[in-house]
């Protein structure tokens, strides 16, 4: 169908917004790329990709890396804390979820009219949230910190909080690393401080985009969107099982695929 939709839409999000589908993406305000120069084309590319993958936006807290360059004070104030995004997010949720719950606690107070469906729904969810938040279906996200990246020399990039993010996702560093390297089309390894050092120059955004896809593919439960899943290897197949709803699916093994020989003279012909 709609053949003009870019391919990666499908691939990136698989149409589901992993953490919080209710939330409509906010225009990423501060997309100032690290002046650490990446070719312009790539930067624009990147931005497109990201805007496409919407849902996981929420995955990364204050994702526009807290730049040391003050961007514009207002937005800084809002976003400085990890919770920056959360703020307006809650607002969004409120509107949608409990739109009918106004100031005076309950709209039906003081009248003997029937409850409206929406009101009841809102009410039940409020109660649920208070008592059994885990049942309320709020994907109160596991928030991921944005990747922190350093450059090592001119040809290598160090992904500083790699381990950290693996832990957040509850995934084996090896697995995450395999995916990252395959997608980046490069090689790399952990250094003494458990940082991931990869060959090539990459911006935090690059890692972020890939991690997002990783999460879609290897972390999020398709059924309930919960990130609370276990990835196991069952006779040569990787299997993803959801701790929350119990559903499972097999996931693709990570394959690096073709890697061109670069460096000294491209191979071939």
């Amino acid at each position: 169908m709609a053949d003009d939709v870019p391919n990666d839409v499908k691939e990136d999000v698989a149409d589901i917004a992993p953490f919080d589908p209710t939330k409509k993406k906010k225009k990423k305000k501060v997309v100032i790329q690290d002046p650490a120069d990446d070719s312009v084309e790539k930067v624009t590319e990147q931005t497109e990709n990201l805007s496409v993958s919407d849902g996981l936006e929420s995955t990364f807290s204050g994702l526009k890396k807290k730049k040391k360059k003050a961007v514009d004070t207002s937005s800084l104030n809002e976003e400085s804390g990890e919770v920056g995004e959360d703020l307006d997010d809650h607002a969004g949720v409120d509107e949608e979820g409990e739109g009918t719950v106004p100031q005076s606690r309950f709209p039906w107070e003081g009248s003997d009219r029937d409850y409206e469906y929406e009101e009841l729904l809102g009410r039940v969810f409020n109660i649920l949230r208070e008592n059994n938040p885990e049942l309320a279906g709020d994907r109160r996200r596991t928030v991921m910190r944005p990747p922190q990246v350093l450059r090592e020399g001119t040809k290598k990039t160090v992904f500083v909080n790699f381990m950290d993010l693996c832990k957040t996702m509850h995934r084996q560093p090896d697995h995450v690393m395999a995916f990252l390297l395959a997608e980046l089309g490069t090689s790399g390894s952990l250094d003494g401080q458990q940082r991931l050092v990869v060959k090539g120059r990459f911006a935090p955004k690059n890692f972020e985009g890939i991690l997002r896809r990783y999460i879609n593919e290897y972390v999020i439960c398709i059924g309930c969107k919960s990130p609370d899943t276990i990835l196991s290897k069952e006779n040569r197949l990787f299997f993803l099982r959801c701790e929350k709803c119990g559903s499972g699916r097999s996931v693709a093994p990570i394959k690096a695929g073709f890697v061109a020989r670069v460096g000294r003279r491209t191979a071939g012909t």
Binding site: D15, N206, A260
Partner: protein
């Protein structure tokens, strides 16, 4: 175009498993066309296209791609993966669009990798 028509046969029916199935076939990942990007020295990059059907003339496709995007490229023979098209620069979007429009690959069979 004609390829696409086929897909639309039952436009109203929503198959809740469509996605899951699609993903499953991804597990085999055999029939996917993979479009990847790789960094070269400096800010240069390279796009590779792997997994086109063997029946196609790679050289012919390559020629069209090169002409279309004004970039250089080559067909490489990989011992395991067979023939792979390499293009200079990041042509992932371009290639994907081209392959779909030319009816060479269906959109859902293309996997774009990279950062």
């Amino acid at each position: 175009m004609s390829e696409l028509e086929v897909d639309v046969q039952i436009p109203t029916a929503f198959d809740p498993f469509a996605e899951a199935n699609a993903d499953d076939s991804g597990a085999g990942s055999k029939e996917y066309v993979h479009i990847r990007i790789q960094q070269r020295n400096g800010r240069k990059s390279l796009t590779t296209v792997q997994g086109l059907k063997k029946e196609y003339s790679y050289n012919k496709i390559l020629k069209d791609l090169k002409k279309e995007f004004c970039c250089n490229g080559t067909v490489v023979q990989d011992p395991e993966l067979g023939q792979v098209i390499q293009l200079q620069g990041d042509q992932r979007k371009n290639v994907s669009t081209f392959l779909v429009q030319a009816g060479i690959v269906k959109k859902e069979h293309i996997k774009i990798h990279g950062f």
